[in-house]
């Protein structure tokens, strides 16, 4: 492997590109769409699907705000309202927030680390299909009036067989299983890709902060999601085959559910936040035209947030009457996690101070993020206090708190990221003018919607109420919140319009419109199926700034087969070659089999009898060896 200037041997370079095109091209047409294993096309459809669910969830919230606009309103009855707020929670948590973050990760990470694709392309496709199936399952059920109605937290016994007859809660449990599988698949993808497919020279301590964020997030997913997948299966068993995990009379315990659920549920919040922090770091660096200050501190705080987030779950249960001392421990932990989050904020501010900020839309969203996230953070410290939390717990104060955290910590950075990477993904810029409107509407709207809720909570308005009585005096503030919600809706609408318009008429972007520093900007926009003609060699944290003009590249990679370079974990020395599969339909078929299994199971135990063989069959097809692979495998051995 030697460093070669990018512009050397042009003619040869042309043929290389042509051959790579040939090799990595995805089959055209619908079939191609169904069989694609390219992380970019999968990432794109992942993002689009997630955004569609985001809009749906937002509309549900809008309807709820309409219902709450005035006391004793009659837009929604209690039954519909309960389904709406449950669907809103589930959509935002399971179908939007987590998937969209992993999706962006799946799209960007390989580009940022100079890889041709994710480690397991077919698994990646499978993950998306399962996620899509889960989302469709949930929403079809919803339209069949079988939408879950016990909250995204579905506390037993309310969600148990006695108090939630019918199939609504079974749909809840099973659709979570779908999304958890998708999330776990994505986590495995990211971890392996980040560990084994980084461009030569990109040692761990040279990885972009966003990649670090995704790595931490992936590990959190890996440790948190199995809990909710398990606990929802326990619930399903209680409901379908009369087990007694949550039946106190037969030795079960209603609190067991809460412990298991929140042991997932709290990390879940940080699973959503962490990638957001990654976005912010990237945008800050680019828009202050200097690397983010305190790289080690940033990485360490990311890691410690990841660890600490597993030690906080009980602060969702302060009102359940657990022992005082134990609770204080969780208070301490909950407060402690503020420190790493704080450090990152401080580092960004320092970076901005030291840099030369350009106030592009992405940067605006970062500023908005800091404001909203900090407010959410300080109220978070407040609810971490046992005594105070027992007062405001399950009141609108908490609603305000976590919407500040999640919208501030996830949605704003995400939108920032959209404006930032849209050119890379589509090749066209988003309109800055619409972008500013978009930002200010959202910023004002969000604060208008959620700030009054702090007050409502303190005045005693509980969560999850489909209406309230006039004399409570909660009317005016609720109306205010609803008005805010309208602004938010308009803001999101503007965003959608901006995307739609820019897709056709947006200014052409070119490879690196922002003058950014990371590898994804080193290739064309949108990137070719093979991402990079030459796998670059990295010598610093900001390759495009530190090695302007040309990048040293890896040679000796075959271009007539789907070879990707596997590097060592710590300092990314080239290790071996890995042969990637061609487009295939099997991931889709496997996902369909999975769906059949899961859906039939909630209606009859025979579901297992029907679904399992189907699933095994498709897996068999998936893993069926092709002669060609063997032959080429040999050739690799010869070369390697």
């Amino acid at each position: 492997m030697t460093a070669i200037p990018a512009d050397a041997r042009p003619t040869d370079d042309e043929s290389v590109r042509r051959q790579l095109d040939e090799t990595w091209r995805q089959t055209p047409g619908l079939w191609g769409w169904l069989t694609s294993v390219d992380h970019k096309s999968i990432g794109k459809r992942y993002i689009v699907t997630a955004m569609v669910f985001f809009v749906l969830g937002g509309l549900e919230a809008g309807v709820m705000r309409a219902q709450l606009a005035r006391p004793e309103n009659s837009v929604l009855g209690p039954d519909a309202y309960n389904q709406f707020f449950t669907m809103h929670g589930m959509t935002m948590m399971f179908l939007f927030a987590v998937p969209v973050m992993t999706a962006v990760g799946l799209y960007l990470v390989p580009l940022m680390i100079g890889a041709r694709n994710v480690a397991f392309p077919r698994l990646n496709a499978y993950g998306y299909w399962v996620y899509l199936a889960g989302g469709l399952f949930l929403y079809i059920s919803f339209f069949l009036n079988t939408g879950p109605d016990t909250g995204w937290f579905s506390y037993v016994p309310l969600a148990g067989p006695e108090f939630s007859p019918g199939k609504r809660v079974d749909v809840y449990a099973q659709s979570i299983t779908f999304t958890e599988i998708a999330a776990l698949v994505a986590a495995v993808e990211l971890i392996v890709t980040i560990f084994k497919n980084r461009a030569p020279g990109m040692t761990l301590n040279r990885m972009p902060l966003f990649v670090w964020a995704m790595l931490v997030q992936a590990f959190m997913v890996l440790f948190a999601m199995p809990w909710v997948a398990t606990v929802t299966q326990l619930l399903a068993m209680d409901r379908l085959v009369a087990t007694h995990f949550f039946n106190p009379a037969e030795g079960g315990d209603a609190l067991l559910w809460q412990h298991l659920f929140w042991f997932f549920g709290h990390p879940e919040v940080y699973i959503i936040l962490t990638p957001g922090l990654g976005f912010v770091s990237m945008i800050v660096a680019t828009f202050t035209r200097r690397p983010v200050y305190g790289y080690p501190a940033m990485v360490l705080s990311l890691l410690s947030v990841g660890f600490l987030s597993f030690g906080l779950w009980v602060h969702h249960m302060f009102a359940t009457g657990l022992p005082q001392l134990g609770q204080s421990f969780f208070t301490a932990a909950s407060m402690m996690i503020t420190i790493p989050s704080g450090i990152q904020i401080f580092c960004w501010i320092a970076t901005i101070w030291a840099g030369r900020p350009r106030f592009g839309v992405p940067f605006l969203f970062v500023l908005g993020f800091v404001v909203i996230f900090v407010i959410g953070g300080v109220t978070g410290v407040m609810v971490a206090s046992v005594a105070f939390d027992q007062q405001v717990h399950d009141s609108y104060f908490v609603v305000a708190h976590f919407h500040y955290v999640l919208i501030g910590g996830a949605v704003f950075p995400l939108l920032g990221a959209f404006y930032y990477w849209f050119p890379k993904i589509t090749g066209r810029m988003l309109s800055e003018r619409l972008g500013r409107w978009n930002f200010w509407l959202l910023f004002v709207g969000v604060n208008l919607t959620f700030f009054p809720m702090h007050q409502l909570g303190l005045e005693g308005m509980p969560r999850r109420v489909y209406t309230y009585l006039a004399g409570t005096g909660w009317g005016p503030l609720n109306l205010l919140a609803t008005i805010g919600a309208v602004l938010v809706v308009v803001g999101v609408l503007l965003f959608v319009i901006n995307v739609a318009v820019s897709l056709r008429r947006g200014a052409l972007a070119g490879d690196d419109p922002w003058g950014a520093d990371t590898l994804e900007w080193a290739t064309s926009s949108p990137p070719p199926p093979y991402n990079f003609a030459h796998i670059p060699v990295v010598e610093g944290r900001a390759p495009l700034w530190e090695q302007p003009g040309e990048l040293p590249a890896v040679s000796g990679l075959r271009t007539d087969v789907r070879d990707v370079l596997v590097t060592t974990l710590l300092d990314a020395r080239p290790d071996s070659l890995h042969r990637h599969p061609p487009p295939t339909i099997w991931p889709l078929l496997t996902a369909i089999a999975t769906t059949i299994l899961f859906v039939t199971l909630i209606f009859t135990p025979w579901g297992a009898v029907i679904g399992t063989p189907l699933l095994l069959l498709t897996l068999l097809g998936w893993g069926w060896p092709h002669g060609r692979d063997h032959q080429e495998q040999r050739m690799v051995e010869q070369t390697g």
Binding site: F388, V392, P462
Partner: protein
Amino acid sequence: MPLTLASTLVQQAHTSLNPASPQVRLVDQLGTAMFVTAAVVCLLVFAALLWAALRRRSGAEPVADGRQERPMKTAVLLATGVTTVILFVFLIFDVSVGRSITTNPGNDALQIRVTGHQWWWEVQYRDSLPKNWATTANEIHVPVGRPVVFELRSTDVIHSFWPPNLSPKRDQIPGNENSLWFQADSAGVYRGQCAEFCGHQHAKMAFLVVAEPADQFEGWLARQRDTAQTPTDSLARRGKDVFMAASCVMCHAISGTSAGSRIGPDLTHLASRRTLAAGTLPNTRENLTGWIVDPQAIKPGVKMPPNQLSGPELLALVAYLETLK
């Protein structure tokens, strides 16, 4: 049917912001302290952010050199240190408040058992002498200046007992008993509401806490212990027959009569209560009538079915219920 709301009876007495018990006062202080600090922190951060973003720059391209790094380092370390200190102070404050809330109320405490039902509150006054037990619903009277211990239970789903002016909330979880205590230190009518999502009418599962001077309270309790009087006027007497013959008797108890079902609230002293339907309606004749005829219009999903009673029957029934002082 015009719905005026029950809590109009309780002007401004459903908020954690005007404490009526030492417990809530402490929490309120804690909250205020944290709020003020939080506000200051926010403002500082925002100020720093704006300044960092908008400060006038000196010409040259920024380079990460020592000259810049040192002040940044100190700034970040300083900020982090301050944050840590603030959090530590909060922690101590919180623990101390928590301890003082959960201290032993002492022996002269009044014992009340509150059981959450979908979607109303069963209230039972305990006493060493069984005869002195009294059961009511959705309206809790407490003596001013005397600790009251609440034994919190649920027999269906999880509810959460929360009178914001008087006490932080505590969940009522089937299978594990909970308890809390407070001491009302000023007379008044306070409103509380279920704080844990419990199904269709979670929104209309409220209750009143009536804090009154000890002697008044004792008088009230004594009345609650009485069995219901047999009505004197003929209309009410007919109403009683209606009650005993119609679906009412399947769910409600009126002590002193043969109605002894515990599915719905105990109606022995219904007329003495301020509200109907768990703090949803003021206890007036119109509301009572409307409630009996079509509760589903007022609390959709509530366990009480619409009752098809003839006009005269209904009139008599209401007349009877109004005698249950």
